[in-house]
């Protein structure tokens, strides 16, 4: 508990957590983009459906990352 209440440590923890969350979200959104672009290349006529699903899934992934960033922010503040 002494370690956790230390300001510098909690700041570092928040920063590391936000960085990890950004990495995870980057990988996730990259995969979604890859999948969507490949799908559009195969079926250009399904562009609208693919785009809607891509944005929705990207938003879900981003939501998970933003949870982590908020928790990181709370650790810093």
């Amino acid at each position: 508990m002494v370690l956790l209440s230390d300001v510098a440590n909690s700041n570092a923890g928040g920063a590391i957590g936000a960085g990890l969350a950004a990495m995870g979200a980057g990988i996730g959104v990259g995969q979604i983009g890859k999948g969507a672009v490949e799908a559009i290349a195969r079926q250009p006529e399904a562009l609208n459906d693919i785009r809607a699903n891509m944005i929705l899934t990207a938003a879900l992934v981003e939501g998970a990352a933003l949870f982590a960033i908020i928790v990181g922010l709370l650790a810093v503040l």
Binding site: I55, L56, A59, G63, I69, I70
Partner: protein, 395 residues
């Protein structure tokens, strides 16, 4: 040609930046003498954190900028807002926030916390974090300007978030009612739409065709007004929040929380027996799986609106913080040396403009996603097993 110019410009900017970054190393020994010659504490170091949270959080005035005079004093420029305080001991107090002079004066036995007063409280041995005190909050004080903890009061002021939300609401109602009047007169029904109708009709049809119809099946007409209200209300608040100097309404957890709760009520209100059956008694599962699945499904009922709340809040806060961080970089670099500040400012401004355009996209995207996910959850709540067939039939 344009890309060649851009490349040249980038190289030039980078070279200037690196030259100016490395030259101050030799000039470094002079600087401490200069700063020690100045009066200590006269010029406060640039505090990026204070600036960032001063912009992102709620406040009792619209603050635009400070005018720094020759003697180092600052005059803040902004619009003061009404402060409404009710205390059972002291009664109702209504006055403008300019009476506080940005925390320098007390008024009617209350005080707006600023950095200096917080420092004073800290010296007295008060744990600021434990008491929940931070800059921008109002506390009750006695005659000697000491914190009077015994006085309980409720702060129901019109803060900048509240004022801006009401303005946005008025603007939205005015736009929508004027458009509705045009449709009633026959414009856009018998003839081509005119004026503002051209701007908003594609958006309304987009929400109808891409959000409501695919997710809600046959009942889309019942939920379309709610989805459109949600979409446009979030959108107008997002966009007004992007104008420099305004408040960050959608980046306030209370605002998104209320929107999420309303969505939660709508989702639960439209749920059918089938939906609850899937949660408390998932069909076709062995009994031991149900012990794991039922708690997970039950939690997911509350996680869905929670995710909506956090997503909108975090997206808008993160965007605003990034923009202010990039602008703050100029001042952080200028604190190192003037040259680095000058060299870094074009880069910082270019990045800010880039992020700003992304934020405009995000403003639309978040409004769309909030409406879209609400529609998906409503659809899940009432459609049940026939959801897929009906969704396909609707296409």
């Amino acid at each position: 040609m344009a890309s060649r110019l851009l490349k040249l410009f980038t190289v030039a900017a980078f070279s200037v930046f690196s030259i100016l970054y490395f030259t101050p190393v030799s000039a470094q020994p002079h600087e401490p003498q200069q700063s020690s010659a100045q009066e200590p504490g006269k010029k406060k170091a640039f505090d990026a954190q204070e600036i960032i949270f001063g912009h992102v959080l709620d406040g009792h005035d619209f603050h635009f900028f400070d005018i720094t005079h020759d003697d180092g004093t600052k005059t803040p420029v902004g619009i003061p807002l009404p402060v409404i305080l009710y205390s059972p001991q002291r009664g109702l107090n209504v006055f403008m926030s300019s009476k506080f002079h940005h925390g320098e004066h007390k008024h009617a036995g209350y005080r707006l916390l600023n950095a200096e007063y917080l420092e004073k409280l800290k010296e007295k041995g008060i744990d600021l974090k434990k008491e929940g005190l931070s800059a921008g909050k109002i506390i009750a004080v006695d005659e000697n300007d000491n914190w009077d903890k015994a006085v309980k009061f409720y702060d129901i002021s019109l803060t900048r978030n509240v004022v801006q939300m009401i303005l946005a609401l008025a603007l939205l109602v005015w736009i929508m009612l004027s458009i509705a009047k045009r449709y009633k007169q026959g414009y856009g029904v018998k003839s081509a739409p005119t004026g503002m109708q051209n701007l908003l009709e594609p958006v309304i049809t987009f929400v109808r065709d891409e959000v409501a119809k695919p997710n809600l099946g046959a009942k889309w007409e019942k939920y379309l007004p709610y989805l459109l209200t949600l979409f446009f209300f979030i959108l107008i608040n997002n966009i007004i929040g992007l104008i420099p100097g305004t408040a960050n309404v959608t980046g306030n957890i209370a605002f998104t929380f209320v929107l999420g709760i309303i969505s939660f009520i709508v989702i639960l209100g439209s749920s059918k027996k089938h939906y609850w059956g899937h949660i408390f008694n998932p069909p076709g599962m062995p009994v031991w799986v149900k012990f794991i699945l039922v708690p997970v499904e039950f939690v997911s009922v509350f996680v869905k609106p929670m995710a909506l709340i956090i997503r909108l809040f975090a997206n808008m806060v993160a965007g605003h913080i990034i923009i202010i961080c990039l602008i703050s970089l100029i001042f952080i670099f200028s604190a190192m040396s003037k040259g680095v500040g000058i060299a870094s400012s074009p880069l910082a401004v270019a990045f800010t403009i880039f992020i700003y355009f992304i934020e405009i996209l995000v403003a639309f995207l978040q409004a769309y996603i909030f409406a879209m996910l609400t529609a998906v959850f409503i659809g899940q709540a009432y459609e049940g097993e026939h959801h897929h067939e009906e969704a396909h039939a609707a296409h």
